[in-house]
Amino acid sequence: MKKKNYLHNPATLKIDLMLRGTRIDDPVVKAWACGSSGVDIMLPEKTLVNIPCSEEFTRNSPYLIKKKGSGYLITDGASEVEVSLVERPAFYNRRTASGVPLSSIAVVHGSYTVITPSQRCDFFNRSIECKYCAGNFNVTGRDGVVYSVEEVLEAVEAVLKEKASEIIYFSIGFSDSDDGGIEFLKPYILAVKKNFNCLVAVEALPPKKNRWIDETYALGADSVLYNLEIFDKELFEIICPGRATLIGHKRYLEALEHAAKVFPSGTVASHLIVGLEPPGSTCMGIDYLTGIGVVPILPIYRPSANRALRIEPLDTEIILPVYKHLYKSIKKNRINVNWVRDISMVTTPVELKAIVNGPRQRSIVDGFYKSRLGKKTAWGLATLRRKLRVIDREDDSE
């Protein structure tokens, strides 16, 4: 069967690139990608993508990044498209006062900078870690590093000064606590909110009680993610034994439903990894999540030699309808798509518009959201909303 050409549409190209990766024929790009999970490339229409380039499967990729004049292009052999290499943040070369490389604390993924203050995940210590555990951030077992609040603040300051991204994304691995990790993240969130006017997203585990979700919002988190990863309950139990045993599929859905009532529209999200379950099952997950006001984010499963799980990735032709379904489902449920945008690791709903409607034109709204005024407005509205919605019961007691 003849392979389709995706080069003409940045949105489909992004998906295909994430799925197949690329070969590199340039020392500068190779140097960029060295030590990273992939290389960040800006496709046409300002579509940002992180393309795998070091994994084994990328050797057979039809795509090649080549130097052309002062710029770059991606070619599949038959045709080509001009792209640009995303500049590596300058702070990646700096260290904190305590000597920790800032690049190991904060990793820029487009509009989000991911910070994982504790890289410990107790699932590893109990041998019940998720069997793919590559789509997430670098969490590990007992010896995981813990960065201090001061170190994290130094990294955040560097990110914001350089305008590398505008949202600070805190993530945490599993720890056996009722709060899902929020008590641990609390000083980091409070410190960032106290010192900087930026938006904060939190990726945590669903807490045992909803009051922790309320507290997550009250603390200053503007967005929350409880990543279900797999909607099919049986596959969830097999692939994510820790999550299934200690949290439970049902609790994920309950927590997401409650969070969607607390947080603004479009700011509660959950990963459903494409390729770990049948596309139909992912579509059912999309319908369920969008039905309760949650944005499904669909990272693509990337097989890795050092992971227990070996599943053949799906073909772009098969997964494109899943992404289309996601866009339609989000529109149908009128979920705000402007929060989850411009992320290199996943295809965002805003980008999916181009798959459904053809290559997109940047609208005034898009421009506003990316402008300085738009970012300040978003921060101001988020802060005002929190001020209006959060009731501190301790203040009420007299």
Partner: protein, 477 residues
């Protein structure tokens, strides 16, 4: 951190938030209107301003839009600023004995709580009356009333408060939500209020009124004579109070038996009586005896503070142990209320209010009795009961000679209702102490208290009309 997220539509929240500034604006306009209007005849400018402050504080106290204590501080600020009283005098009023009595009572209550004796007593009461939620409420209601026969109702409320709080916590009742929790604290407060009018010992107001009567007319009222006269009132109000409370707050727990195993385990966990418990209990016992025996002579505050000193001298308690039990909000509120009452009294505003409202109506003895008893019970809702007596009694005694009424009966008409505040925490410390538990709020207190207010006034007038003639007492000489 205890947070709740308001998930109502943003426009609803914004509308509600906007209502707060609108309310403040309305209060400012009312205040300004009362200040700016032409001064009525017979009222001084100071009196007019005192009435304006009183109106604003009443609105803020009732609405509870700012903490009660802050409203009181507002009154303390406004009184000297508007020149109603000199600042030296205003702040000196805060040093009133009642304020120090409340402070002493809080410290004593804190020591009792900290020693664990209140916990032991509470647990044993629960165990003793654990069979039924109804008998537990009745026991607290009657215990409060009975103890108030012999000692200041304020002291009874302060003493029983930690025990009732332990009971409420022991039963896992949620503050502000549990009907049974409300019932327990209203039983405590109303029991104290009703019991407090039964004898001279319930508070300082009756001795104060009798003293004023004697000064003005030479007449007096005996200890037993007084108690016999008000006995039916006390009995009827206790019955009515229980019925009203259980109607307003139906018992919403199945029983206290479910907590029985926990209670027994906890009682066992307390171990034997510690020396600290014995000593603190002994100090409390001597304090009660002191209040009964020397309360009128030395003053309730003196006795309370002496006991506090003893507690610290014998190291039965440390300051940091009791600090959390001292409700400074209530102390500030009570101090502010005293300042406001004095401002109304000394500026002539209270007298003007009485004269201008009663002058034309009090045409007959029974009408004068009904009106003065009504004014007394009404004013005590906002003023300290001693201030009500100080304001109303001189006017009523003057009216008595005009209408050929027995001044003794008019003294009853003011002294007894002045102790019957069921509505507002600012009127009586018993309600204020109960409200500090957070199980009841001012709105609920005003709602149930209003029915008791009407009932108490009606029953008092019926007792005067039907019972007193049997004792040889009548409206006219």
């Amino acid at each position: 951190m205890s947070v709740e997220i308001d998930t109502r539509p943003i426009w609803v929240i914004l509308l509600l938030k906007a209502s707060r500034p609108a309310f403040y604006l309305a209060v400012v306009l009312i205040f300004w209107g009362l200040i700016a209007m032409p001064t009525p005849e017979g009222l001084s400018i100071g009196g007019q301003r005192a009435i304006a402050i009183f109106a604003v504080c009443l609105i803020l106290w009732v609405s509870n839009i700012v903490p009660l204590a802050i409203t009181s501080l507002f009154a303390i600020v406004l009184v000297p600023v508007l020149g109603v009283l000199p600042k030296k005098e205003t702040y000196a009023l805060f040093g009133n004995e009642a304020v120090f009595f409340i402070l002493g009572a809080f410290i004593l209550a804190g020591a009792v709580m900290h020693s664990g004796i209140s916990n032991r007593v509470a647990l044993n009461i629960m165990k003793r009356f654990g069979g039924s939620p109804r008998t537990l409420v009745i026991s607290i209601f009657l215990l409060s009333a009975f103890l108030s026969f012999f000692m200041s109702e304020h002291a009874v409320a302060a003493m029983l408060f930690p025990i009732v709080l332990e009971i409420a916590k022991g039963l896992g009742l949620k503050p502000g939500k549990s009907n049974y929790g409300k019932l327990l604290f209203f039983a405590l407060a109303w029991g104290c209020v009703i019991g407090g009018v039964a004898t001279f010992l319930g508070g300082a107001r009756v001795p104060l009124a009798v003293g004023m009567l004697k000064e003005t007319t030479g007449d007096s009222i005996g200890f037993l004579e007084y108690s016999v006269a008000v006995f039916p009132l006390v009995v009827i109000l206790l019955a009515a109070g229980y019925l009203i409370l259980t109607k307003f707050f139906p018992i919403d727990i199945e029983g206290v038996g479910s907590a029985r195993a926990v209670l027994e385990r906890r009682i066992k966990g307390l171990g034997k009586f510690s020396i600290n418990e014995y000593a603190t209990g002994t100090v409390l016992l001597f304090t009660i005896i002191g209040w009964i025996a020397f309360g009128e002579g030395l003053g309730l505050a003196t006795v309370a503070l002496s006991s506090v000193v003893v507690l610290f001298v014998f190291r039965l308690v440390k300051w940091k142990d009791i600090e959390e039990y001292v409700n400074w909000g209530i102390i500030l509120m009570y101090g502010g209320a005293i300042v406001l009452g004095a401002a109304l009294d000394k500026s002539g505003a209270a007298s003007w209010l009485v004269k201008s409202s009663v002058g034309d109506w009090a045409g007959s003895p029974w009408m004068a009795f009904a009106l003065f008893s009504f004014l007394s019970i009404l004013l005590t809702a906002a003023m300290s009961n001693a201030a009500v007596i100080a304001v109303l009694l001189p006017v009523s005694l003057g009216l008595a000679s005009k209408l050929s009424m027995d001044p003794v009966v008019l003294t009853y008409a003011i002294a007894v209702p002045a102790g019957l505040d069921f509505m507002f925490p600012m009127g009586t410390p018993a309600i204020a102490i109960a409200a500090s538990s957070n199980y009841i709020n001012v709105k609920e207190s005003a709602k149930g208290g209003f029915i008791m207010f009407v009932t108490a006034w009606a029953v008092f007038n019926l007792v005067a009309a039907w019972w007193w003639p049997l004792l040889g007492m009548g409206y006219s000489r």
